[in-house]
Amino acid sequence: MNASGSNVPGDAGSRPSVSRRTPKETQEQVARSLKRRYWAERRFRMYGLAAVLIGIVFVLFLFATIIAKGASTFRQSYVKLDVFYDPAIIDPAGTRKPEDIANADYQAIIRAALRERFPNVEGRRDTRELTRLVSSGASFDLRSRVKNNEDLIGQRETQWVLASDDVDMLMKGRISRETADDGGPLSAQQIGWIDSLAEADALELRFNRTFFTHGDSREPEQAGVGGAVMGSLFTLALTLLLSFPIGVSAAIYLEEFARKNRWTDLIEVNINNLAAVPSIVFGLLGLAVFIGFFGLPRSAPLVGALVLTLLTLPTIIIASRAALKGVPPSIREAALGMGASKIQMVTHHVLPLAMPGMLTGTIIGMARALGETAPLLMIGMVAFIVDVPRGFTDPATVLPVQVFLWADSPERAFVERTSGAIIVLLAFLVVMNATAVVLRNRFERRW
């Protein structure tokens, strides 16, 4: 015990030297030490408060950095161009065959529109620098417009087209206005064009739809979380479909039917341990068993869901058992007394009462599954996937893996995208957790 130990009377009583003191002396000694002890008390309390504050400050700091880095993702630079859908470029033969329209050089149309905007740009080098202001994805947008409406051919139209990522970064102030000679990504000439476009209100930040509808891309301005969100939805839907019934059934068996013996003890210890096994080990299991042994397709939401089911089962079982424990025995006895069988007692009375608690646990388990990354890396959901998945066996990626992939990309604009994807991910998590809290507060009964 430390120096202050002697101040605790219980401790002091065991020492013969103290017992010889008079009560008055003892009182004086205690009074002398009081200042120090109160000071220690205050210090201890401050440590506690500091620890709590560190946690809170970190949460705020984390959210602030992510939002500061990522909020601008939801707006994207677009250039206003006066586009002429030149029949000579799109459909020189005039056949209007879909293949011809699909294979036409829409880049040339954009180039022409840009030249029209800046008539005094000449020479191949300058023209190329000028076209670099617009994203290569802009030509795909024009193509799909023409595909949907062939009457556009030969017409003129004012169209906002996607700007390139460097222009976007400059507009958002994420890169300095240093010219290419000083190591910046844009040349002095390009910055001049950007300024003149911005002054004429022909270059502005608009809502970034691409980010929500597109899949992954090598070009930051065309990359979106649409594919990852769909992948997450497919994976989570199947996980829920599998883990909720299995988890609830297992909890019912263990809580209502199983006799206490070594076998059920084993199952219980097992479940508690599984809840603490590192998630990456579940990934190894998925890789060796589902992909290696059963030959299921790699990168598919199907396998992801199977792995996540095994991962979330312990959480759901533990929460469901707690919910079942919360239902008072009197309800069971009443049901049995009315002649219900054990299964009827559970399905008609206990289960409906425990359902809010079970659902809360399930939502929390699903939220964990949504944020899980490592096991999905193991089963190959890290592939570069441009298409938005349409089924359970299509190659797909999920939101947290998309964050991981983009975090590795060197382009400046991808830092912004990554933070944007994190904001989307956190938004989903907040909604799920809020639902769980509301469910718990509204429907959970206490007896």
């Binding site: 101040n7 008390e41 992510i66 039917f257 199952i267 990456i280 939220a367 991981f404």
Partner: protein
Amino acid sequence: MTPAALLVVLVGLSLLAYTLGKSRALAAVGGSRGIRNLHSLPSYYGALTALWCALPALVVFGIWLAFQDAIITRLVTSHMPADVQALSPQELSLVINDVHNVVQGNVSFENARPEVRAAAEEYIELRRISRLALTGLVIAIGIVGLVVVRSRISPQFRARNAVEKAVEWGLIGCSLIAVLTTVGIIASVAFEAARFFGQVPWYEFLFGLNWSPQTAIRADQVGSSGSFGAVPLFWGTALISGIAMIVAVPIGLFSAIYLAEYAHRKFRAWTKPFLEVLAGIPTVVYGFFAALTIGPALRGWGEAFGLEVATESALAAGLVMGIMIVPFVSSLADDMITAVPQSLRDGAYALGATKSETIRQVVIRAALPGIVGGVLLAVSRAIGETMIVVMAAGLAANLTANPFEAVTTVTVQIVTLLVGDQEFDSPKTLAAFALGLVLFLVTLGLNILALHIVKKYREQYE
């Protein structure tokens, strides 16, 4: 019929079985008036008929599908030209792969070689026959089950007991999945690890000091013999987890003490969810934060003090991991502290102790076993944490105690070895499973120990 369509038909058939069984039971007692004479409610007769219609058929369906491909592939292989069959097993498996690709439509028929095309045609024909047979068999079994059970329905028939028995077995099956998962983990990881130890001796793996898993593709290649000494990985894991615990244990413990013993109820109600947010943030977000904010910041500060700090330093990963674990430590410690009976505190106050003295010398000491258990659980969490270290720690296996240098961990190596193209036989891939086995065993040991301590402690005050 495709398997999916067959399943739909089977569902339809069992619905039919349900109504037939129910109506039969009612008919046996002369309509709903005589329902008192039935042993069970009519719906149980329906359910039992449906079960007997669907379950045996489903079992056959599952077994058939599990073996269908293997059997057809063997048949097709045995009919291949003699020169193809004479190929070595590896080459033969490549040919079979081609056949599968053609069958699945990944490669068009026109582009395939003639022998592959012939085999694919045979495969498709055999599969057609197999599916036809399966459809017939499954439907026949379903109908037989339906008819047999329906014919046995009588007022004395104990349908409810039979259905409930089946449901109970279903529940048992669900709870067994958890056990099967553990068995699956141990079997799969240990099996691959055993193959690894067949190629690399276990003592070299456990005690070797050199980790460079790049193996030579050709035998004559220089400088990439591949060595699998995992000590640097264990050390890196320990270093980063150690830093994390140095952060997490004091902050977690103190915040638990403050919230449980000092804080005003309102303050507690507001701050506790805030701290729990930390537990809900996906680890990939922590990883991103560690790699892009904390790592460079530490490097900058290090430069200001004349220290050389790697961007992927162990310190950055450890700090962020520590913060991640804080809510874990604090919620467990909170449980343990509130479980200490009030009478112990009252006793200390009565003897004149101040609040902090009571906490330090009575409450913490009484809760110590539980807290130690919680910390052990947190350690196992730190060891198994993957995304933070994958994103923020390095790849080079350094054996250093300097937290400013980059180290690598077991989980980082598992991810790097297994992500990307891989073959299942190379020691490089198998090494990941050996690491996984070590990781699983260590965390399992820690968990069992910790849960045991926590359980013992809980019993003490109950």
